[in-house]
């Protein structure tokens, strides 16, 4: 009986580990060259989150070797078609993004968390995003990732802590956190394999 429990525990642990790793078979089968990032869905109460976030996505993705369609122009084109709501845009058939932009893949981002939590002397700023890259021809999910990033301010002597918590309360700059989260999402161990403009293109299979 003890053995059975142990076996179940080990199996549970193993499947837990395996589930964390991305299955990139579909990615390698379709290898996108170009990615269109559509307006970001925001599930956090912070209204400015999506517009702040969208300014920090092109660079890390393009530096990974992909042709990234300019986000502002993308937004304007979608608007011309009456597509304003991110929630609505995320529901469109993926093939629509091939028709509109000629993009190989579409990246959907949902902001799960974008908040500041206050304890007595410490403030912690948190952002969390969910990324899904979908092939525009087949509708298959090529890659997905979830990236939280938390930064606590405070620590050290009590006066500095009070001051820094007060500063955080006055003006929370989420942008550096969003940048960091994007960087980790694309470059980390569950990141996107390098695209055609990157020197590691087709050489980094063993990394993921």
């Amino acid at each position: 009986m003890k053995c059975l429990w142990l076996l179940m525990l080990v199996t549970g642990l193993l499947t837990g580990c395996a589930a964390k790793k991305n299955n990139l078979d579909a990615f390698y089968a379709h290898r996108p060259r170009s990615i269109v990032v559509v307006p970001v869905a925001n599930e956090s109460p912070e209204v400015t989150a999506s517009s702040v976030f969208i300014t920090a996505i092109s660079k890390p993705l393009a530096e990974k070797g992909y042709y990234v369609f300019p986000v502002y122009l993308t937004d304007m084109i979608l608007r011309d078609f009456g597509l304003v709501e991110a929630g609505h845009i995320h529901q469109l058939p993926p093939a629509r993004f091939y028709e509109l932009f000629g993009a190989d893949a579409v990246l959907f981002v949902t902001i799960k968390n974008w908040s500041t939590k206050y304890l007595v002397l410490v403030a912690s700023v948190e952002v969390e995003m969910e990324y899904t890259l979908v092939d525009t021809r087949t509708g298959l999910v090529l890659w997905e990732n979830k990236q939280p990033y938390i930064q606590a301010s405070g620590g050290g002597d009590p006066i500095t802590m009070v001051v820094s918590a007060a500063i955080t309360a006055l003006f929370t700059d989420y942008l550096p956190l969003a940048r960091q989260a994007n960087f980790m999402a694309f470059q980390g161990s569950n990141g996107v394999p390098a695209g055609a403009y990157h020197p590691d293109y087709q050489r980094d299979q063993d990394r993921f």
Partner: protein, 143 residues
């Protein structure tokens, strides 16, 4: 003899420092690969447009990026010429817009489908003499 030993010890120390230095240089280089593109103020310019709703500086930011990329012999990032073309279109410079869209297409063939559509649309507006710059620039098929 003692002098030589001391000197030998000193050499070993300086050699290790040198080795450490070289090693850390290699590490740093490994951690921060040189960027593929010259970005300049692109992210700031997006922030101005999206968050501050101010398009006043966009053109200047983009022009600076192009000039600096050329000067430092770096690549202009994907999308910047297209972004610039759209700016020019918005302020009524249709020929300038077509040139910029064409540049994007030449540098990044992945954009060809969209750029061709945009060029066609701007060309049509140019030919029909519509000068309204707020005219939507529908580039796709039917909705």
């Amino acid at each position: 003899m003692q002098y030589f030993m001391y000197k030998g010890h000193f050499n070993f120390l300086s050699q290790s420092i040198f080795c450490c230095f070289i090693f850390s240089c290699l590490l740093l280089e490994g951690c921060a690969p040189s960027p593929l593109f010259y970005w300049g103020d692109y992210e700031d310019s997006l922030y101005e447009r999206y968050v501050e709703n101010d398009t006043g500086q966009t053109e200047v930011h983009l022009q600076e990026s192009f000039a600096e990329a050329q000067k430092t012999n770096q690549r202009v990032p994907p999308g910047l010429y297209a972004d610039y073309g759209f700016m020019l279109y918005k302020r009524g410079d249709k020929s300038g817009a077509i040139t910029a869209f064409d540049q994007e297409k030449k540098q990044y063939p992945e954009s060809a489908l969209l750029m061709t559509k945009l060029i066609e649309r701007v060309q049509q507006k140019k030919d029909t003499g519509i000068s309204k710059s707020n005219e939507p620039l529908k580039a796709g098929g039917q909705q």
